[in-house]
Subunit: 450 residues, 2 copies
């Protein structure tokens, strides 16, 4: 339903753009949520994107649109926007999003913009730009509601009526001492139901989860998810409240991290390439295939080594694909289970040996099952027992080694703080290919007496 | 830091359990969040789990713990809990979680429990059990705040003070007409800042995003994420408000769906297996490997067909691994990009031809690059031009076909409503293996005149 609606929207806007039916377009655009407009933008050519962007009247809508667009589309679009108007749009946006967008621009342009922005806003943005992108400090919102302990509920409500009108997450109010240190939290809900004269101190929750500015964004996201909260306060080294990370950013983090892990495991870069050009995509994907290219060259050198046996018994070659394929697939199973298990926190690094030995056991059992099946198929086709036994044993070896390597490598990498997703994918598969082929020929030439 | 804290907690609790230091344990357990306790449970043996569970005093904490545990651990644990006490715990829990837990129990047990539960609660649970698990109806909370249009802000606040005390998401108040149809929404924030006598009609937002009970949970999650809202109202066919889906459930949906996609693509089942026994895990993973087993048998039949050529030129076999490996890896790149692109909504089904032709172009370019590299390596090793050219051409074919199949299959499957993640993984890799090997031998025997 949702998809149909979007499809209709895209088609109508495309048609109207072709016809140049500006007044119609204005009507549609004003009624459409910026998140939906960003879907439309992805399907348009650059000239149409610029035209449509010019039609949007609401600067706030333009701002939301900026945050929703892919980096490339955003940069293309911005080139056509006047600097003063761009600054105007930025001034309407939440500070964390502004910092994010400015981080994408060439340095010279971002400096000019920071100078042009109203002093207050640009200071906040510069503060945010100081933290690393993927830490709590880099993703936090510096707009939050902080009140003193001796504020009464009535005063707190009055302050909401006068100030904090544009705070994004007005449902938690943080309580700070006179040094701005975080001491408690109350929910808007509690504030509404307590008697007017109660001071915040008397009903605040003092057991507040908070995170440090330098905590990795994935850790922050896990905390928000684990405790089912809508925002988590961010404090600096001195426990001074400096910002909050809200649940909508947490959703984005989880989705982006899952995407990154999947792409890394497939050796397809880290970031989404589907909006990039053919040449750019090719450049990103090319180096990842180099591992399997090198691995392939090693494999043909190994097989070349057994050329003598092969010319005596040509059908030895016939089992290379099944031994590589089965090893590769079980290795992918193991590494995916480990990489995702570590990412979701369902597997712990300290359990490394129990995880790896379990995978090894599974690899042995599955190797036995499929070793017998393929061995029997080999016997049926070539009626030569020593060959059938060699193929069977080679499969058991290949599948247990694959399960072992597939689980051990990502765990070991995570232990020394290398991203396990990067370590898995192409590297593991290639290593398993080489090991499997080598074992197979070694076993077969020995058993067949070649 | 978070991880260290958990590690210390697990170790202390294990030690105290071994020592039987109950009074110490009670102190620790009462101070620990149920979400953290669930982490501890995962590392304990069943007998220790039961012992620790017996020590928890707070029934609410027990309830949260139930929702956090894996299905197997939960079922094991529940066997040791008295039925009346179990019902007592359930009565304290949010209705959607109760429905979820009861859905996991054997039917006979769940019937007994529904009978024992207080009438009101059990009716709500039975209502929820009517909807499919993975739809908006199946995941919604039936507790929400609904008020009439002519309620004043003051009356609304008073109703919050008297009723709705245990509503999980008290930050949105929904406005309904006298037939319970959804007509608007106000945020608690707005309610607090408007003058007391204003009626809800005068400041409510009438442009409410709502979803139908039968909408797929993934679609619901995408809507909440796209519009950055904390909850989305669920309506039945007659636009009557029946529940809400909250943002914490949306996070769980995204994380679970990403996990499922990754496991399916790796051919490792759909659900997490890391807490299951070796035999159970083996049983889940075994059938997925059957595709590559069958593929392997087909591959050896094909190669057997070229036995004559192989015995004349044994080193033909040496290039099987590199051709399979390169094809497999680029195919995995393509299918991962497509599967994840569809899941995040960054790729649209209607763009099928532009996506597939782009992948094909990338496959051709990368095939050309690596075809030349491997062809040169072959020439260097065996000094036979026809062989080098055959290997090069086979790589170009294999890599472009792999990119084509890897992107086309998941898109085509999604179009006929089969999960693209299931369709990708082992099936695609195996198909590519067979096609690549066949092309290679066909090209090589032709060019080498064998």
């Amino acid at each position: 339903m949702q998809t149909d609606r979007n499809k209709i929207l895209v088609e109508s806007i495309k048609r109207l753009l072709r016809r140049g039916a500006t007044s119609h377009l204005i009507k549609i655009v004003n009624k459409t949520h910026a998140a939906d407009l960003s879907m439309v933008f992805r399907s348009l050519s650059l000239s149409h994107q610029r035209k449509l962007f010019g039609i949007i009247e609401d600067t706030e809508q333009k701002g939301i649109l900026f945050t929703e667009l892919d980096e490339d589309t955003f940069l293309d679009l911005v080139e056509g926007v006047e600097l003063d108007h761009f600054v105007e749009i930025l001034e309407q946006m939440p500070t964390d999003d502004v910092a994010d967008l400015i981080g994408r621009l060439p340095e010279k342009m971002s400096d000019t913009i920071l100078e042009k922005m109203k002093v207050e806003g640009s200071e906040e943005v510069e503060d945010l730009l100081r933290y690393k992108d993927d830490t709590a400090g880099g993703i936090m919102l510096p707009d939050f509601i902080a009140l003193a302990e001796d504020t009464t509920a009535k005063e707190a409500i009055e302050s909401l009526q006068k100030e904090h009108l544009d705070v994004e997450m007005p449902f938690y109010l943080y309580v700070v001492d006179r040094y701005d240190k975080l001491v408690g939290v109350i929910s808007l809900r509690q504030l509404v139901v307590v008697p007017h004269e109660t001071t915040l101190r008397d009903f605040m929750t003092t057991d507040v989860f908070s995170v440090q500015t330098d905590m990795d964004q994935e850790e922050v996201a896990k905390i928000v998810a684990r405790y089912d909260i809508l925002a988590v306060p961010v404090v600096d080294g001195a426990n001074k409240l400096v910002g909050i990370v809200t649940v909508d950013d947490v959703i984005d983090i989880f989705r982006r991290e899952a995407t990154e892990d999947m792409l890394k495991m497939a050796g397809a870069g880290e970031e989404f390439v589907e909006t990039k050009s053919v040449l750019k995509s090719t450049r990103i994907r090319l180096p990842w295939l180099f591992a399997s290219c090198l691995g392939g060259i090693i494999a043909f050198l190994i097989i070349g080594h057994f050329e003598g046996s092969l010319s005596k018994l040509a059908y030895l070659a016939a089992f290379i694909p099944v031994i590589m394929g089965m090893g590769g697939n079980i290795g992918t199973q193991s590494s995916t289970i480990v990489v995702r298990g570590l990412a979701t926190g369902r597997l712990q690094l300290r359990d490394i040996w129990s995880v790896v030995s379990k995978e090894l056991a599974i690899g042995l059992i599955l190797g036995l099952v499929y070793g017998i099946i393929i061995g029997m198929a080999a016997q049926f086709r070539y009626s030569r027992e020593a060959l059938a036994v060699s193929v069977g044993i080679a499969l058991i070896c290949s599948m247990s080694i694959a399960a072992l390597v597939g689980s051990l490598v990502p765990m070991a990498f995570a232990r020394v703080n290398i991203d396990p997703a990067v370590a898995s994918g192409p590297f593991v598969t290639t290593a398993i290919d080489i090991i499997s082929v080598f074992f197979y020929f070694q076993i077969a030439t020995t058993l067949l007496g070649l």
